[in-house]
C-alpha cells in the first residue's frame, strides 16, 4: 500500500487530561479513511495535531515517507493538508470569494513593485474549483457568507481547502448539521474528490455513513489507538465493541432505592428543528438517564423543560399540575432545577467565593428587608459543604482555585440550596478526575435515596449505565427508545444512538 501520511506515537496532553496517548494512524494514497470513537475519544484533537492547530507533545509524522514537523496551520496548508472544520471557520461578513482565498490571495505586482490582489486570477481559480465541485451555478462568488445556508457554507469550506491545492483533506463530522438531502450532495462531492486522487480522512459518529463511503476505518478510544480495519472485514457490532471496550468497575455506587410514583410527565415535547415529540415520565427517587450523541438535543430538551428555552408545543406535568414556565426563576420556585454541562459559563461565577456562589439563587429566601442574614447564610453554606464534602480551606475560598471535581460539588450544592424536587444534571462529571467522579456518583446516589428525582444527561456511557434506573435514548431530536436497568448494555445504547 502506498502510504501518503503516517503518524506514530502521538501524545498530547492538556492540563489534567491526556487527550492522545501514543496514537497512530496511516492514510493510503487516494483512500477514504474513517476515524471513529466515542464523544471525547480524541478524534478532533488528532485532526488538530495533523493540521498544526495543536502541537503534539511527542511523536512523529511522515508525509510521503519523509519525516515532517507541522508547527502551525500555514505549514499544513503548504504541505497540501487541509481540514474542513466541524463548526465552519468562515468569516461571515466577507464574500465567498474573499473567504476561500483568505490569507493566501494570489498577488500580482503593479508597476513591478506594488503587490496587488489579483481578483481576476482569484475568480478564475475559484471558477475552476466551483465547476469541479459542481456548485458554480448554486453559489455566487459575491454572496456574503452570512447569507448562505449550512450546506452551502460547507461547500465553501471544501472549496477553500482546494484553493490550497490540498491533496489530503480532513472532514471533521461534516454531516452533523446537514439534512439527508445535503448529505447526499456532499457524498457526491466526496466521490468526485476521491476520483481525482485526493486522500481523505473522515471523522464521523454515523455508522451507516462510515460503511457507505469509507475504505478503511481506525478506531480511537480514550486517546489511544485501538485498531485499523478494512471496511469489508468488519461489522458494525465489532466497531461499536472496539469503541466501547471498557469494563465497569467500582465507579458506580448505586444504592437500592424504593422508587415511587411518577412525578414528572412529559408528553410530545416539540421545539422547531431541535426536538420532535419527546414523551417520558420520571418517578420519585428515580435516576432517569438520557443518552445520545453530542448535538442530539439532550441539552435542548433540558432547557425546554426548565424554561431556559421556550418549547413550541407539548405538555409537562409536574406533581400533578401543569408546569408552564416562562422563565427559569419560575422553574426553580417549582422545585425544578437544572445544572448546566458548562460549569464555567452557565453554572458558577468562578471569581466569587464558595459562599457567594452557593446562596446566589436563594438570596431572597435568606434576607430580610433587602439585607442578607449572614448567620443563616453561613449555616446553610457550612451545611452543604459538609454534606457534599467540598474540599476547600473555608467557605470564603474563591471557586476558580478549586479543582474541577470540587467546583462540580459546589455547583450541585448550589442547586440543592434551592430545595429541588427534581434535579436535571447535564454532564455531571465532565472535566472531573476519576476520584472526584466516583464521589459525585455517590452524592447523586444518596440524593436519590433521600427521594429526589434526577434526570441525568451524560455522554459517559459507563456512568449512564452504572447510575440510571431507566434510560432514554435520543437521536437527532427524537426519542429512539427507553431501556430498563435489566436491558442495559453499552452496545445496545450505542446502536440506538448512532
Amino acid at each position: 500500500m502506498d502510504i501518503i501520511l503516517k503518524l506514530e506515537d502521538i501524545c498530547k496532553s492538556f492540563p489534567g487530561v491526556k487527550a492522545l496517548d501514543h496514537m497512530q494512524i496511516e492514510l493510503a494514497r487516494g483512500e477514504m479513511h474513517a476515524v471513529c470513537g466515542e464523544n471525547g475519544a480524541g478524534k478532533s484533537t488528532l485532526m488538530k495535531v495533523i493540521t498544526g492547530v495543536y502541537k503534539a507533545d511527542s511523536g512523529n509524522m511522515y508525509l510521503n515517507g519523509e519525516k515532517v514537523t507541522i508547527r502551525e496551520p500555514n505549514d499544513a496548508y503548504a504541505k497540501g493538508i487541509a481540514i474542513i472544520f466541524q463548526e465552519t471557520s468562515l468569516f461571515k461578513d466577507l464574500t465567498v470569494l474573499e473567504n476561500i482565498f483568505m490569507g493566501h490571495e494570489p498577488v500580482k505586482k503593479v508597476f513591478g513593485v506594488i503587490p496587488n490582489i489579483d481578483y481576476r486570477a482569484m475568480k478564475e481559480k475559484a471558477q475552476q474549483i466551483f465547476e469541479f465541485l459542481g456548485i458554480d451555478k448554486e453559489i455566487s462568488f459575491d454572496a456574503k457568507v452570512d447569507d448562505l445556508g449550512v450546506a452551502a457554507k460547507q461547500m465553501v469550506e471544501i472549496a477553500k481547502a482546494l484553493t490550497y491545492d490540498a491533496n489530503i483533506l480532513i472532514f471533521d463530522e461534516p454531516t452533523a448539521a446537514l439534512t439527508s438531502k445535503d448529505v447526499r450532495a456532499l457524498f457526491q462531492t466526496i466521490a468526485r474528490l476521491k476520483e481525482s486522487g485526493i486522500s481523505m480522512m473522515y471523522i464521523s459518529h454515523r455508522m451507516e455513513e462510515i460503511f457507505e463511503i469509507a475504505d478503511r476505518v481506525t478506531v480511537i478510544r480514550d486517546g489511544s489507538f485501538v485498531r485499523t480495519a478494512a471496511i469489508g472485514e468488519v461489522t458494525e457490532k465489532e466497531l461499536i465493541a472496539w469503541m466501547v471496550g471498557r469494563e465497569m468497575n467500582e465507579m458506580y455506587p448505586k444504592a437500592e432505592v424504593e422508587i415511587g410514583k411518577p412525578i414528572l410527565e412529559v408528553k410530545n415535547l416539540c421545539k422547531d428543528g431541535l426536538l420532535r415529540n419527546i414523551s417520558f415520565e420520571v418517578r420519585q427517587g428515580e435516576i432517569f438517564g438520557v443518552a445520545g450523541l453530542a448535538g442530539a438535543g439532550r441539552t435542548e430538551m433540558a432547557e425546554c423543560l426548565s424554561g431556559l428555552m421556550q418549547r413550541d408545543s407539548g405538555d409537562v406535568e409536574f406533581y400533578g399540575s401543569p408546569l408552564n414556565v416562562k422563565a427559569y426563576r419560575e422553574a426553580v420556585d417549582a422545585g425544578f432545577v437544572y445544572i448546566s454541562e458548562d460549569r464555567k459559563k452557565y453554572g458558577l461565577s468562578v471569581p466569587m467565593t464558595i459562599k457567594e456562589n452557593l446562596t446566589m439563587s436563594i438570596l431572597y429566601k435568606i434576607s430580610k428587608n433587602g439585607f442578607i442574614d449572614f448567620k443563616e447564610e453561613e449555616n446553610i453554606v457550612d451545611d452543604y459543604m459538609q454534606k457534599l464534602r467540598v474540599k476547600a480551606p473555608n467557605r470564603e475560598f474563591v471557586v476558580e482555585n478549586l479543582s474541577g471535581g470540587n467546583q462540580q460539588k459546589v455547583l450541585v450544592a448550589k442547586a440543592l440550596c434551592a430545595k429541588p424536587r427534581l434535579l436535571i444534571l447535564d454532564e455531571p462529571t465532565r472535566g472531573v478526575d476519576v476520584g472526584a467522579k466516583s464521589e459525585i456518583h455517590r452524592i447523586i446516589s444518596n440524593l436519590a435515596k433521600e427521594g429526589l428525582s434526577i434526570i441525568m444527561i451524560s455522554s459517559d456511557m459507563p456512568e449512564l449505565l452504572g447510575m440510571s434506573d431507566r434510560l432514554m435514548v435520543i437521536k437527532a431530536g427524537t426519542k429512539v427508545g427507553e431501556l430498563t436497568r435489566e436491558e442495559f448494555s453499552q452496545e445496545k445504547v450505542l446502536e440506538m444512538a448512532l
Binding site: S89, F91, F141, A185
Partner: protein, 325 residues
C-alpha cells in the same frame, strides 16, 4: 444564480448608498434654506480632517478594537508640529514628525493590548488621561501662538477660490485606503482578524501582528489628521482637542464599520464624514448652539448602531443561497 451587479446599482443599494442619498438630500435642503454657499470653504476644509480621522478610527474599529485617545493625541501632535513649524522646519518634514508621534502613541496602545491582553478601550482611555495631564505641563500649557501666516496660508491654500488643497490630500488618502483594504493581503487580513480572530488563526494569519500593524497605520493617519487640523490655523491650543474622538467615532460607526469588527468600507467614511461636517455647519447656520451638535451626533450614532445590530430590511436584505439555512 450568479448575478453580476452593476457597480453603481450595487453602491446605491448598499448601506453606504442609502446614506449617500440621505446626505445628498440634506445637502440640497441646507443649500437652499441657509447660507451654506457662504461657508462652503470652511465646510470642505473641516471635511478633510474628518475623513482622515474617520479612516484612522475605521482601521482600529474594524479590528474590534478602539482608540479613544484619537482626539487628545491631536493636541499633542499639534504642540509638536506647531513648535517645529515655528522653528522653520519645512512642512513635509513636520508632516513626517507628526506621523511619527501619532504612530508612537498608537504603538503604545497596541503593544499593551497585544502583549498583556488589556482591552484597547482601557489602554486608550489611560492615554487620554495622560495626554490631558501632560498639556498643562508643556511650555505655555502647550499653546503655540503667532505661527507665521506664511505657514497657515499653505494650510489654507485653495483651488478655484473654494476647494481646499488639504481636502484633495484627504481624498487621495481615501482612494488609497479603498485600494489598500480591497487589494492588499494586509487589508484582507484586517477584515479577517476583526471578523473572527480564531478563524483567522486557523487560516494561518498572525492576529497579533495584524493588530499591531493596524494600530500603527491608524496612528500614522492620526498624524496626518493633526496636520490637516492645525496647519490652516495660526494658533495651537492642545486642550481644544479634548472630546474630538467623538467626531471620528460617529463617522466610523455611521459609515458602516461594525463596532464588533470585521465590516466597513472606506467609502462609508467619506459619506459619513460629509454628514457629520454638514451637521456641524447646519447647527451653526441655523444659529443653534453646540448642544444641538452633540444631540444630533448622539441620535445619529444610536440610529447607526441600531441599524448595524438589528435586521432592518433596508440595510440588510436577508436571503439564503444554496441549501438549507
Amino acid at each position: 444564480m450568479k448575478t453580476q451587479k452593476n457597480p453603481i446599482t450595487a453602491f446605491f443599494t448598499s448601506r453606504e448608498g442609502y446614506l449617500a442619498i440621505f446626505v445628498a438630500i440634506l445637502f440640497v435642503v441646507l443649500y437652499f434654506t441657509t447660507n451654506l454657499s457662504g461657508s462652503m470653504y470652511i465646510f470642505l476644509r473641516d471635511l478633510a480632517y474628518l475623513i482622515a480621522g474617520g479612516l484612522a478610527l475605521m482601521m482600529v474599529i474594524m479590528l474590534g478594537e478602539i482608540d479613544i485617545s484619537s482626539g487628545t493625541v491631536l493636541g499633542l501632535i499639534g504642540f509638536v508640529t506647531g513648535t517645529t513649524l515655528k522653528m522653520g522646519i519645512p512642512i513635509p518634514a513636520v508632516l513626517l514628525i507628526a506621523v511619527c508621534v501619532g504612530m508612537l502613541n498608537s504603538a503604545i496602545i497596541a503593544f499593551v493590548t497585544v502583549r498583556f491582553r488589556v482591552p484597547s478601550m482601557i489602554v486608550s482611555l489611560a492615554m487620554v488621561k495622560l495626554h490631558v495631564g501632560v498639556f498643562p505641563l508643556l511650555p505655555d500649557a502647550g499653546w503655540v501662538s503667532n505661527i507665521p501666516s506664511s505657514i497657515s496660508d499653505v494650510g489654507g491654500a485653495r483651488l478655484f477660490g473654494v476647494f481646499p488643497v488639504i481636502l484633495l490630500f484627504a481624498l487621495v488618502l481615501l482612494i488609497f485606503f479603498c485600494w489598500f483594504m480591497k487589494y492588499t493581503r494586509f487589508g484582507r487580513k484586517v477584515y479577517a482578524v476583526g471578523g473572527n480572530k480564531e478563524s483567522a488563526k486557523l487560516a494561518g494569519i498572525n492576529a497579533d501582528k495584524v493588530t499591531f500593524l493596524t494600530f500603527l497605520t491608524s496612528g500614522a493617519l492620526l498624524g496626518v489628521t493633526a496636520m490637516m487640523y492645525w496647519l490652516p490655523k495660526t494658533q495651537v491650543i492642545p486642550s481644544g482637542t479634548i472630546g474630538m474622538e467623538m467626531y471620528f467615532l460617529p463617522i466610523a460607526v455611521v459609515g458602516g464599520v461594525s463596532i464588533m469588527g470585521g465590516t466597513g468600507r472606506p467609502i462609508g467614511i467619506l459619506v459619513a464624514g460629509i454628514l457629520i461636517a454638514m451637521l456641524q455647519r447646519a447647527c451653526l447656520l441655523f444659529g443653534l448652539g453646540n448642544q444641538y451638535v452633540y444631540l444630533s451626533y448622539g441620535l445619529i450614532v444610536l440610529i447607526a448602531v441600531y441599524a448595524t445590530v438589528s435586521d432592518i430590511k433596508i440595510f440588510k436584505g436577508k436571503k439564503t443561497v444554496g441549501g438549507a439555512s
